[in-house]
């Protein structure tokens, strides 16, 4: 077992391994590059960018929960133009793929960002129609399969790179939503974004988050995420990027067995800055242990 084949192909883009960072948890890669050799990652997925700078929500924006956390950043970002100017050059120094997560308040916003990015030196675009922390746009696009289809179709027109559509878990039937994205032309689907949650400070008798509610992420949500990946894998043909609570190799394998071709590591970075590397190495160890030479043989490979 000297030659583990860990390459995965997502919509024509070949990643050296299936480990990505989850958007919004890894900045634009620079901060974590002090702890992680970015060359080791399949892809860096950067924080959501919009057509213009967004200020984000008021503070506090984070609340710790049992096995997870809430955030209500609200997609603060410097705008796509600043991003293109500053961050791509840094990331291109590394041998890893660049995936840019895009945010918008309207279909036009999304298209505008996609258009700017289509001429930028990046590998894929991830359409975030699932952020629970922004009132207009975003999540409201993500809860109805027809809207998902329509917005995907529209944005797709402006993309020269493959388009990943990122789904919200705050829906009754995730498979229907995924089918909408696929019908709209999504080249891949990523899930899950955060579950909407709330924490109250019982001593101050007010919500901990200034924004009242926020998105729940971390190990606590993993069973919901695995379930949704599994359901979506039964429903669509496009590749799936799974995330939600992944902290180690075993977690990643669980998502891949459920049907994900690649995985992303989010909240775990905060409590283990080398989580992405641990995940990558854990996957390799699993392959060695079970004599699996090609990682593709793991994807969806469960007996039910």
């Amino acid at each position: 077992m000297t030659n583990l084949k860990t390459k995965v192909n997502i919509a024509g883009v070949e990643l050296k391994n299936p480990v990505m960072t989850a958007s919004g948890t890894f900045g634009s890669g620079k901060e974590y590059s002090e702890f992680v050799d970015l060359n080791e990652l399949g892809a860096v997925v950067v924080k959501g960018v919009a057509n213009v700078p967004w200020k984000g929500n008021a503070s506090p924006r984070v609340a710790e929960t049992y096995g997870g956390m809430l955030n209500s950043v609200g997609l603060q970002n410097p705008g796509v133009h600043a991003f293109v100017k500053e961050d791509i050059l840094f990331l291109r120094k590394y041998d890893t793929k660049i995936i840019v997560n895009i945010a918008g308040r309207s279909v036009e916003d999304y298209c505008e960002v996609a258009e700017v990015l289509s001429n930028a030196d990046i590998d894929m675009i991830e359409l975030n129609i699932s952020c629970p922390n922004v009132k207009e746009g975003c999540v409201s696009f993500g809860v109805n399969p027809h809207t998902v289809e329509a917005v995907t179709k529209e944005v797709k027109k402006y993309c020269k790179q493959p388009l990943i559509v990122k789904l919200s878990p705050n829906v009754a039937d995730i498979a229907e939503i995924a089918k909408g994205a696929e019908a709209g032309g999504a080249d891949a689907i990523s899930l899950i974004n955060t579950l909407l949650g709330m924490v109250i400070d019982i001593h101050k008798r007010r919500p901990v988050l200034a924004n009242i509610m926020g998105g729940l992420s971390g190990p606590a949500i993993k069973p919901v995420a695995v379930r949704m990946v599994y359901q979506v894998a039964q429903a669509v043909k496009v590749p799936i990027i799974g995330m939600g609570g992944i902290s180690n190799g075993d977690d990643a394998i669980e998502f891949m067995l459920a049907g994900a071709s690649a995985v992303a590591v989010g909240t775990a970075n905060f409590f283990n800055p080398r989580a992405t590397i641990d995940v990558k190495e854990g996957i390799e160890n699993y392959m060695k242990k079970y004599g699996i030479s090609n990682i593709k043989d793991i994807v969806g490979n469960i007996t039910v």
């Binding site: 948890t25 901060e31 200020k55 984070v62 609340a63 997870g68 603060q76 905060f270 409590f271 800055p273």
Partner: protein, 257 residues
């Protein structure tokens, strides 16, 4: 370079009710650490995951140690308080910008409230000119002797009057009307605001250290923000307390909430 490493606990003792002093062997970072910076303390509990940001109270370059002084307020600090000498603990640091010390500030005014007191100690040690220190506590006091060692004058307030004057640091400032070239302050936001207003009134610039709830501690997640004025623009932005701060100039902060 920020380091993520295991520090060894040398001492972890209660120096005042609920207040602990933790001395860590942290050779890797003492050389780089500045006053006003902080470290993230990771924990072994599995129920809560996020690291706890704690300011650097003292840096001992010869011994290669850092001193942290922290108040036990919840689950995380409670777990930290139980760590025994010779045990090791995951740390990340040094984090944040720290205080800006110019060659000679002339006279400096230091104002600390509660757990905003410890981060001023290393600053007090390093400042060259005359330093007047104002420390506000709820009831029990700590680190006073240390400050007295390094500072020209130490004023104390307690809410119950058990030591120093009964009141807060603002009362002290108003009573003593110190003069200085820079105010350094750390404490709860309402105190920082009051200190800022006091200093502004006297045209003294301020370096204020903020606290905000954090996740990554290194500027990647954007959960910790301070509203600041944009340069050359009639607009504001949310800057990261962990990376762009925790120290901001009083004049750049937008004080609207």
């Amino acid at each position: 370079m920020i380091k993520w490493f295991e520090g060894t606990v040398i001492e972890n003792i209660e120096i005042s009710p609920g207040i602990y002093k933790l001395i860590l062997s942290a050779q890797d970072i003492v050389g780089m650490a500045k006053s006003g910076q902080f470290v993230n303390v990771y924990n072994n509990s599995e129920k809560h995951l996020l690291p706890r940001p704690i300011s650097i109270c003292e840096i001992n370059k010869e011994k290669g140690t850092l001193t942290l002084v922290y108040s036990v307020v919840g689950r995380g600090t409670n777990i930290i308080s139980q760590i025994q000498p010779s045990e090791s603990i995951k740390l990340m640091g040094p984090l944040g910008n720290g205080f800006e010390i110019t060659e000679n500030h002339g006279e400096s005014i230091l104002v600390g409230g509660g757990v905003g007191v410890p981060p001023l100690l290393e600053l007090a040690k390093q400042l060259k000119g005359k330093t007047t220190v104002y420390l506000g506590f709820r009831t029990s006091t700590y680190l006073i002797e240390e400050f007295e060692k390094y500072c020209d004058k130490v004023y104390i307030s307690t809410e119950d009057g058990s030591r120093g004057i009964k009141g807060n640091v603002l009362d002290l400032l108003n009573d003593t009307l110190p003069k200085g070239k820079m105010v350094f302050s750390c404490g709860p936001k309402p105190m920082l605001r009051a200190v800022y207003n006091w200093a502004k009134d006297k045209s003294i610039p301020t370096q204020l250290s903020f606290e905000e709830r954090m996740a990554c501690g290194i500027g990647a997640c954007l959960v910790c923000t301070c509203k600041t004025q944009k340069e050359n623009e009639n607009d504001w932005e949310n800057r990261r307390v962990c990376k762009d701060g925790p120290v901001f100039l009083g004049d750049e902060v937008v004080w609207d909430d």
